[in-house]
């Protein structure tokens, strides 16, 4: 089934959907320009703006009824692009996720950041992020999307480096920004290529003209867009920034580096489905990247002792699943988006849970210093475990339905991809169980000055709401294909609707592998004692602990050649260009140093030279006169 027509629209809540972007943007402006005067109530304003956005999103969602509406706001680059919004089932799903989970994280941050003197700045950046992310998903053309894309990149940079007095945080922020530039380069060139090929950058125009372009062009555009998506979504080979991004405050990791921003790449691939559906090679590359990342992220997650980095590896892995789904065409889109939404809930849930644990443990992140926390922070533990059960795909919880949908579709499409995705699910079962056992069960390995306690209600209530979403959302979206039918006007759907089977081969194999992973984790980290200092481990452990040598690879392939290049340039500049200029100056300086000896300071020397000059002149005149 083809996507529906886009209808220009004005008036009503949908016509006012620009408010969704404007409210948080206004909040950010007030908090940043107002400065210290807004310190006392800044965080409430931030929460209010985010909640306001959420209310607008809900009202627009209720009015939408499966339509696709474009709302023209103003001309941006005359003749090329205007700023206009596209409100359709796909964008409104994202809006609900961003503003809904975003508002919960805003509320949580009131508690989490209560001791931070810069809390107001934090909320300003969070609001800025929400505004940019909403522009990204609501824009009806690639120019607006790119502005939002860069806006979230900026907000991500500012928030990773929020504690910029820590050198590691400053370095991590820079790393995220630079790695994202590589992806942005791909996206930008892809946009240029679309402009020269189709003469338009609006989604509606391009999807109608895809037939005019050759398959080679479509493949090139698809691969360039994928490069952009890889940068933003931390997919191989641009994954290295996400693990370091955990230097930011935990609510940032939950909102930006788990629930929303890192899924922008998936959004881009699904939104550009009309390009990818015409370029099977690009689609194949998307699925390969997805599978490679889902395995790489899972392997990294298995070895990390830092709870946030373990969750970051898990995020990479889960986005790998979404990419895999997004590369499978209309059959996979709904599952990719469904997994994206449920992942937004359960991963934000677990990140905020990790933040709550850190809050009680003096910001300790090393899981080897946790253990036995279940009894002292019950709400955090229970909500975290619900998120955990959801992500490993425990039957009837959210992750079970959405991840299983992706695996089934992949299996239908290509057996190898399908089985690799099943293997990734087994690894998920292992590393997430390891995390839960190390944190909440087993012997207490706390530092002597640690006094773990439950967090205040402002932090636990968002956890409870998110965990409710983690339980029910997946089933609600997937059973009877609710999400697929809802998204169909925006992204199309397969002719034959999938039917959920609990007893399919892939589904049972996934469950079995997850159970094996969880049991292995129980024996190694639940039953056996966890050493407080990490053992050296086999080479596989070291490989995973060092992020699969991703940084070393970047260093060897890119950084060192770059350094050589700069060294050659510096040498050439110092010896070649500076040598020429300095040599010339030294020659002039040296010769004038000798010449100045002629200035003796005696008046008669000067008088003699004047006389001599006058005599020469007179002689020359006589000579010329006689000729």
């Amino acid at each position: 089934m083809e996507p529906a027509e886009i209808i220009p629209h004005s008036g009503g809540v949908i016509g006012a959907s620009w408010l969704m972007i404007a409210l948080p943007l206004l909040g950010a402006a007030i908090l940043l320009l107002g400065g210290r005067r807004t310190n006392a109530w800044g965080h409430y304003l931030g929460v209010l703006m985010s909640l306001g956005s959420f209310v607008v999103a809900v009202l627009a969602f209720l009015q939408l009824a499966g339509g696709r509406y474009s709302i023209r706001l103003f001309d941006f680059i005359p003749g090329i692009a205007d700023i206009s919004l596209l409100v359709d089932p796909l964008s409104i799903s994202f809006c609900l996720l961003i503003t809904g989970v975003g508002s919960l994280i805003h509320i949580y941050s009131i508690g989490y950041m209560s001791h931070d003197p810069d809390r107001r700045r934090f909320f300003a950046y969070l609001n800025l992020f929400v505004a940019a992310m909403l522009l990204l998903v609501l824009s009806s053309n690639y120019v607006g999307l790119f502005i939002g894309w860069e806006g979230v990149g900026l907000a991500s940079y500012l928030l990773i480096g929020f504690w910029q007095f820590k050198p590691t945080a400053a370095a991590a922020a820079k790393k995220a920004f630079i790695v994202n530039r590589v992806g942005d380069f791909g996206l930008l060139v892809g946009i240029f290529l679309m402009w020269t090929t189709f003469g338009s950058l609006a989604f509606g125009d391009i999807s109608g003209k895809v037939g005019e372009a050759s398959q080679g062009t479509l493949t090139a555009i698809g691969l360039l867009l994928l490069l952009g998506a890889c940068g933003k979504s931390a997919q191989l080979p641009l994954q290295s920034w996400l693990l370091d991004a955990m230097e930011g405050p935990t609510p940032v990791s939950a909102l930006i580096h788990a629930a929303t921003m890192v899924t922008a790449g998936v959004y881009l691939v699904v939104r550009s489905g009309f390009i990818f559906e015409g370029a099977p090679t690009a689609q194949l590359v998307v699925t390969i990247v997805g599978v490679a990342t889902l395995l790489a992220g899972a392997i990294i997650g298995c070895a990390k002792d830092d709870i946030k980095k373990g969750l970051a590896g898990s995020t990479m892995s889960q986005i790998g699943y979404m990419m895999l789904g997004a590369g499978l065409g209309p059959a996979g889109y709904a599952f990719a988006i469904g997994h994206l939404i449920t992942h937004g809930f359960f991963k934000a849930n677990m990140f905020l849970g990790a933040g709550s644990v850190m809050h009680g443990m003096n910001d300790e992140v090393n899981m080897r210093k946790y253990g036995g926390l279940f009894s002292v922070m019950k709400v955090t533990a229970v909500t975290f475990i619900i998120g955990y059960l959801a992500i490993i795909g425990f039957p009837l919880l959210s992750g079970y339905f959405t991840k299983d949908g992706i695996i089934e579709t992949a299996m239908h499409h290509n057996q190898i991809l399908g089985w690799l995705a099943v293997a990734g699910a087994g690894l998920t079962g292992f590393y997430m169980s390891r995390m839960v056992f190390m944190t909440f069960f087993g012997k207490r390995r706390w530092d002597s000055e640690a006094h773990p306690h439950e967090s205040p209600a402002v932090m636990t209530v968002p956890l409870i709401i998110l965990s409710i979403g983690s339980i029910f959302l997946g089933g609600y979206l997937v059973l009877s294909n609710r999400l697929m039918l809802f998204l169909a006007p925006a992204v199309g759907r397969p002719e034959e609707l999938p039917v959920f089977h609990w007893n399919s081969v892939a589904g049972l194999a996934t469950l079995a592998l997850v159970a094996v992973g969880a049991v292995l984790a129980w024996f190694k980290y639940g039953k056996a004692e966890v050493p407080e200092v990490a053992p050296r481990g086999s080479f596989v452990t070291v490989f995973a602990r060092r992020d699969l040598y991703g940084d070393a690879l970047n260093e060897a392939l890119l950084m060192r050649p770059g350094q050589w290049l700069t060294r050659i340039a510096v040498f050439f500049d110092n010896r070649g260009i500076d040598g020429l200029v300095n040599g010339l100056a030294a020659t002039i300086g040296g010769s004038s140093g000798r010449l100045r000896r002629l200035q003796t300071g005696f008046a008669r020397t000067y008088a003699l030279s004047i006389l001599f000059g006058a005599a020469v002149l007179a002689g020359a005149l006589l000579l010329v006169g006689n000729l």
């Binding site: 000896r597 003796t600 300071g601 008046a603 008669r604 008088a607 003699l608 006389l611």
Partner: protein
Amino acid sequence: MTTEYLVLSALLFAIGALGVLIRRNAIVVFMCVELMLNACNLAFVTFARMHGNLDGQIIAFFVMVVAAAEVVIGLAIIVTIFRTRRSASVDDANLLKY
């Protein structure tokens, strides 16, 4: 018969120039400069006579005016230097050099 005047003028100029170059006393150097100026004046007046017009004589007056002004400033400088350095020797005032 004007040739003799020109020869005299050249002689006076040469004496003046030599005096400027070889004498050390600033006052004497100054007088030699005046001598050179007056040698020029003599030449100007002679040429005026030779060509039968008044141009040379007018220029001679200009030279006298300028010379008078120069004497005022020059003597002032010499006196000032003498006051600060207790010497009127041109070789002692040699600070302005490399």
